[in-house]
């Protein structure tokens, strides 16, 4: 069963926080955080717990497929795919080969591998490039 396309226009802005967000590139946000500069649109929320009891459940637990012993003999080869995209003017630059890890300093949650430990390929596997720039690398290598 295929799901038809849902465009961004059909998704309402449901919170003030979402409306305030700025479409900065990944590289620019990372650079600003590393440099201790202000990130535009940064929200300092103060959400607090309401300490309420949860809404009473009306549904009984559904048995899992493996609890029913309903393993399928056929392997799904065309899975339905639902995609989530940030609604920004331009998608962030393709920055490959990085993953979340301990920050080098407060607020940084990304790290980059040295070139020797990165998979080969990609246009910028060794660090961050600003849009339209070249040769600019992240100086915070993870050892």
């Amino acid at each position: 069963r295929k799901w038809s396309l849902c465009t961004s226009a059909s998704v309402p802005l449901t919170s003030r926080a979402m409306q305030l967000s700025s479409p900065l590139s990944f590289a620019e946000v990372f650079r600003r955080v590393q440099a201790g500069e202000e990130v535009p649109g940064l929200q300092e929320l103060d959400v607090r717990p309401c300490h309420s009891a949860p809404t009473v459940s009306r549904l009984s637990r559904v048995s899992k497929p493996w609890e029913k012993g309903s393993e399928t003999s056929q392997i799904p080869t065309k899975p339905v795919h639902i995609q989530f995209l940030p609604s920004t003017c331009a998608l962030p630059p393709r920055i490959r080969g990085c993953h979340r890890s301990e920050g080098y300093d407060r607020g940084s949650r990304w790290s980059w591998r040295k070139p020797s430990t990165l998979p080969s390929g990609g246009t910028n596997p060794t660090g961050l490039l600003q849009d339209g720039q070249s040769g600019r690398r992240c100086s915070h290598w993870r050892h």
């Binding site: 799901w3 849902c6 449901t14 946000v29 949860p54 899992k64 639902i82 993953h99 607020g107």
Partner: protein, 300 residues
């Protein structure tokens, strides 16, 4: 393919409701999770596409989400401020509870799968995993042993009180929550392990996904050698999930922008590569209710 665009938010994790086949939750963060706040989206799949049911903002980025297994309204998320939050889809006032014990980012949360218990496990960059009773304000136990950040904590779908954790120290650990001890340490990769999952049809089989771009399938009865090693991703594997409908089928997503479907028991393990994304793919899930609805993926 349906697309949901989240204004100013970047998805980290997604999970389909265990009660309602059309309902799913997505944990997302502002500014790619580097800085700023987070949002929990509750979405519904309809004929016309994916629509927003409700959303909740949190003070810091949200990195993982899990649905309650005993209440269709309740979700749990893990945040960048070291907190675990309990939410009620029918209560717009904010989180029901906020559990604060971890000292660094909570990167993984999972609700227990077996019917014998109602527990949540959280994994953090403070190198610890904590087990919680969602109705209590303090953790039941803190499990220490990893020498690196914990990226993934997943309950066994078969063995009560048992969960696995994947860490930046390159090991997969299997824990006995009741005894409060680590039962098994597997040096699964020579690189950080970002994700793991249990086979749904064999209680001894787990899979790990690593920064080394490979997936390794393990039989816990003999961990000297992996059962299978699946290669094909060109960058770090961010998340892996076993199919709920087939013992040897699994899906993985990666920083190479792809989602891949595998059958580790097959002669040609790679079944399909989905290349819909233009950025890092951070999360995926299978729909428990619909066999042919295999993969859901948020993106950074």
């Amino acid at each position: 393919m349906a697309t949901f665009r989240s204004p100013g938010r970047h998805g980290y994790a997604v999970e389909v409701s265990p009660f309602l086949p059309s309902l799913l939750a997505c944990a997302a963060s502002q500014h790619y999770g580097i800085a700023g706040s987070g949002t929990l989206f509750v979405l519904e799949q309809e004929e016309a596409g994916v629509s927003l049911v409700t959303s909740f903002d949190w003070n810091d980025g949200l990195f993982d989400v899990t649905w309650s297994e005993n209440n269709e309204h309740v979700l749990v998320t893990g945040g960048g401020d070291g907190t675990v939050q309990l939410w009620d889809t029918a209560n717009p006032q904010g989180p029901l509870q906020v559990l604060k014990e971890h000292t660094q980012e909570v990167y993984s949360v999972d609700w227990s799968q077996t019917r014998a218990e109602t527990l949540v496990v959280s994994g953090s960059w403070d190198h610890t995993a904590k087990v919680w009773d969602p109705e209590r304000p303090h953790s039941l136990s803190t499990l220490q042993g990893h020498e690196g950040v914990i990226y993934s904590t997943i309950w066994s779908p078969h063995i009560p009180g048992c969960f696995a954790s994947a860490s930046g120290d390159g090991t997969l650990r299997v824990w006995d929550m009741k005894a409060g001890v680590c039962r098994l340490v597997i040096p699964a990769h020579q690189a950080e392990i970002l994700t793991c999952d249990w086979c749904k049809y064999d209680q001894n089989v787990v899979v790990t996904g690593s920064v080394d771009c490979s997936l390794c399938v393990w039989d816990l009865r003999n961990v000297r050698q992996h059962v299978a090693r699946l290669t094909g991703h060109s960058y770090a594997i961010r998340r892996v999930k076993f199919s709920p409908f087939h013992h040897s089928v699994l899906a993985s997503c990666s920083y190479d922008f792809t989602v891949r479907l595998w059958d580790f028991a097959g002669s040609e393990p790679l079944l399909e590569t989905l290349e819909h994304h233009t950025e890092f793919v951070c999360g995926l899930d299978f729909n428990l209710h619909v066999p042919n609805q295999a993969v859901l993926t948020p993106t950074l």
